[in-house]
C-alpha cells in the first residue's frame, strides 16, 4: 500500500500513527512545503518568547520518521491532485503516486485588505518561519501593533512581551478572544493582560496605514515598529476543490474522514469541517487535538480499519501571562452556573438537562476534563450529583456504577 500525506503537522502525524496502528509495512510519504521536521505550530509563540528551544519545537521524537518508516518530501508544495490517476503533482512538476491520500493542508492567515498595509509591511503568525521573521525584526522596546485579539494575536503579544512592554492590540470585536470567551471572562482576561502593560483598542479597526502609523476608525492613531496581522485564518481547500471534492468553508468529509466526492482521498485538520456535536452543525474546529484525532482516524481507515470520528466539540486550553482558560462546547444553554472569584471564573452551560459547554479560568481549570467528558458522553445531569460536581469536578459526583467503570476497569 502506498500512502501519501500532504501536510507535516498534527493531522499528518496523526495519520501516520493511525496507519501504523495496523499497517507496519506500507509505504508512507509526507509532503510539506515547510522544510522542517514536524513541529508544533502552537509552540511558535513559546519559541518566540524563548520558552521553547528549537529542539523542543519538534512535535515528535527525533527518530519519528525512521521508527515509523516514513519518507518525507520537505520544502516542496503539492500543487495539484490528479484523482483520476491517483497522483499528486508538486511545485517542481514532480509527481507522487498514491493508493491512499491524506490532505492535511491546514489553514493560512486571512489578511483583509487595508490601505497602506502592503506598503508598510507586516508579519503574520502561523508558521515557524513567521516566528523566525518576527524574532529577527523585534528589538528591545520596539513598538508592536497586533491586529486581532484572538488566540493568535494574544499569544503573539505574550511572546513579544519578552522583548517589549510597548504592545497594542486592536480588534473589531468589542471584547478579546470573542470566539471562545463570553463577556465576563473576556473582561477578566483583558484586565489581566492590561495589567502586564498591553494596550487594547476594541470595537474598532484600522482605517489605513501611513508609514509606521495606523489610523484607526475611532480616530486614534497608533505608531508601531512591528505590525502583526492576526485577524483570522482560512482553510487551505484549493487542492481538494480543484480535484473535484466537496468543499464548503472547509473540506467536507464523511465520518471516516474520506473526502466527499472523491475516492481514496481523506482530509483532516484545520482545512476540514467537523460535525460539532455540541451544536449539531458542521464547523471548522481548528485546534490541534482535533487535527490529530481526525488524522489518526483517517490513517486507520486508510489502512483498512473501520473507525469513525465522532464527538468533536470545540475546545480550547490556553493561557496568557499565567492566567489559564479552558473552554469547550457551546455557550447557548438554557441554564448556566457561574462563579467569579477574582481572576478565576467558571461558567457551565446547560441545555435540556445536559452540560453543553463551559468556560473555566484561573483556579477553576483543574480537572476540566471531567466537564468535557460530561459534554462528550452526553450524560444527563440528573444521573449525577451535579450540585457536587458544579463546584468540585470529580468522579465522586458520578453514580457508583459509572465510577466503578471508570476506576475499576481498564479502558
Amino acid at each position: 500500500m502506498n500512502y501519501v500525506i500532504i501536510g507535516n503537522s498534527a493531522a499528518g502525524i496523526g495519520c501516520v500513527q493511525g496507519i501504523r496502528d495496523k499497517d507496519k509495512t506500507g509505504k508512507i510519504t509526507i509532503i510539506s512545503d515547510e522544510p522542517y521536521f514536524t513541529y508544533s505550530r502552537p509552540l511558535i509563540s513559546y519559541w518566540l518568547g524563548n520558552a521553547v528551544t528549537d529542539e523542543n519545537m519538534k512535535y515528535r521524537d527525533r527518530d519519528f520518521y525512521e521508527v515509523n518508516n516514513v519518507d518525507t518530501i520537505l520544502g516542496k508544495r503539492a500543487v495539484k491532485i490528479d484523482a483520476a490517476v491517483k497522483k499528486v503533482i508538486l511545485d517542481d512538476n514532480s509527481e507522487v503516486a498514491y493508493d491512499k491520500l491524506l490532505v492535511g493542508t491546514g489553514s493560512k492567515p486571512f489578511v483583509p485588505p487595508s490601505p497602506g498595509l502592503d506598503e508598510t509591511g507586516y508579519f503574520t503568525f502561523m508558521k515557524y518561519d513567521d516566528a523566525k521573521a518576527v524574532k529577527q525584526a523585534v528589538t528591545p522596546g520596539a513598538k508592536v501593533l497586533i491586529v486581532g485579539a484572538g488566540l493568535i494575536g494574544l499569544k503573539a503579544a505574550e511572546a513579544l512581551h519578552e522583548y517589549t512592554e510597548n504592545i497594542t492590540v486592536i480588534d473589531l470585536a468589542d471584547r478579546i478572544l470573542s470566539s471562545i470567551l463570553d463577556e465576563e471572562a473576556a473582561t477578566i482576561m483583558q484586565k489581566h493582560i492590561e495589567s502586564k502593560g498591553v494596550k487594547f483598542f476594541l470595537g474598532t479597526s484600522v482605517n489605513n496605514f501611513v508609514g509606521k502609523t495606523a489610523h484607526l476608525k475611532n480616530g486614534e492613531t497608533c505608531d508601531f515598529d512591528i505590525l502583526i496581522m492576526a485577524v483570522g485564518v482560512r482553510p487551505n481547500v484549493e487542492l481538494i476543490k480543484d480535484a473535484g471534492g466537496e468543499v464548503n468553508r472547509g473540506i467536507i468529509t464523511d465520518k471516516s474522514q474520506a473526502v466527499k466526492g472523491l475516492t481514496d482521498i481523506y482530509a483532516a485538520g484545520d482545512c476540514t469541517e467537523s460535525f460539532d456535536t455540541s451544536i449539531g452543525e458542521n464547523r471548522i474546529l481548528a485546534i490541534l487535538p482535533n487535527a490529530f484525532l481526525q488524522g489518526e482516524i483517517a490513517g486507520k481507515n486508510m489502512s483498512g480499519q473501520d473507525f469513525m470520528y465522532v464527538n468533536a466539540i470545540p475546545q480550547n486550553a490556553i493561557g496568557f501571562f499565567g492566567l489559564h482558560i479552558i473552554t469547550a462546547g457551546s455557550y447557548s444553554g438554557d441554564d448556566a452556573y457561574e462563579v467569579i472569584d477574582g481572576d478565576s471564573y467558571k461558567k457551565l452551560f446547560i441545555k435540556a438537562g445536559k452540560l453543553v459547554g463551559f468556560i473555566l479560568m484561573g483556579k477553576f481549570v483543574a480537572k476540566a476534563g471531567i466537564y468535557t467528558s460530561l459534554i462528550k458522553e452526553k450524560i444527563p445531569l440528573s444521573d449525577i450529583d451535579f450540585n457536587l460536581l458544579k463546584d468540585n469536578p470529580g468522579l465522586a459526583a458520578f453514580s457508583r456504577g459509572r465510577r466503578d467503570k471508570k476506576l475499576a476497569e481498564f479502558h
Binding site: 496523526g14 508544533s40 502552537p42 509552540l43 513559546y46 520558552a51 521553547v52 523542543n56 519538534k58 512535535y59 515528535r60 521524537d61 490541534l288 487535538p289 490529530f292 484525532l293 489518526e296 475546545q315 480550547n316 486550553a317 490556553i318 493561557g319 499565567g322 489559564h324 479552558i326 469547550a328 481549570v365 483543574a366 480537572k367 476540566a368 476534563g369 471531567i370 468535557t372 467528558s373 462528550k376 458522553e377 450529583d385 457536587l388 469536578p393 470529580g394 468522579l395 465522586a396 459526583a397 457508583r400 465510577r403 466503578d404 471508570k406 476506576l407 475499576a408 476497569e409 481498564f410 479502558h411
Partner: protein, 151 residues
Amino acid sequence: MKRVYVNENRCLGCHLCEYWCAFANSGEDSIVKAFKLNKDAMPRINVEDSGEIHFAVQCRHCNDTPCVKACITGALSVDAEGLVSIDTERCVGCYTCVLTCPYGCIVIDEKNGGKTVTKCELCVKNAGGEPWCVKECINGAIVFEDRSKIL
C-alpha cells in the same frame, strides 16, 4: 500492563497515598525530608471525599490516551506497554491535557506556578516496582494489577 486500581469499598479517605506519592516523586530519601525540606513535593494521586465515599484517583493509563493525542508539544507520550508518561521539559503548560482527561488526573504543578503539568507514572521513574500508593495503602484499597486481559 499492571495498572493502579482503587477499590472504593476499601478506601478510607486517609489521604496517606497522596503523601507517599508526593514523597515518591520528590527525589528525597525520606518522607520527612520530602515535606520538611522539599518545597516541591506534590502528589500525582488525589483522594476524592464525598461524605462516606472516598477513593483515590490517578492516571488510569487508559487505552485511548486522549491526553497524549491532545498534547501540543509531544511532552506526553505512551509507550508500547501503555504507560503514559510526561517529559516536563517539553511541557509548556497549555493544559490541553487537563481539558481532555476524563478522569481529572492531569495534575497542574502548583509548586511551579502552574508552568507545567505532571501525572502519575506508576513510580517507574522513582523507586520502581510497586507504586508507592499501592505499597503504602493501609487498607489494601489500592492495587497494582493487570486488568487489560479482561478487556
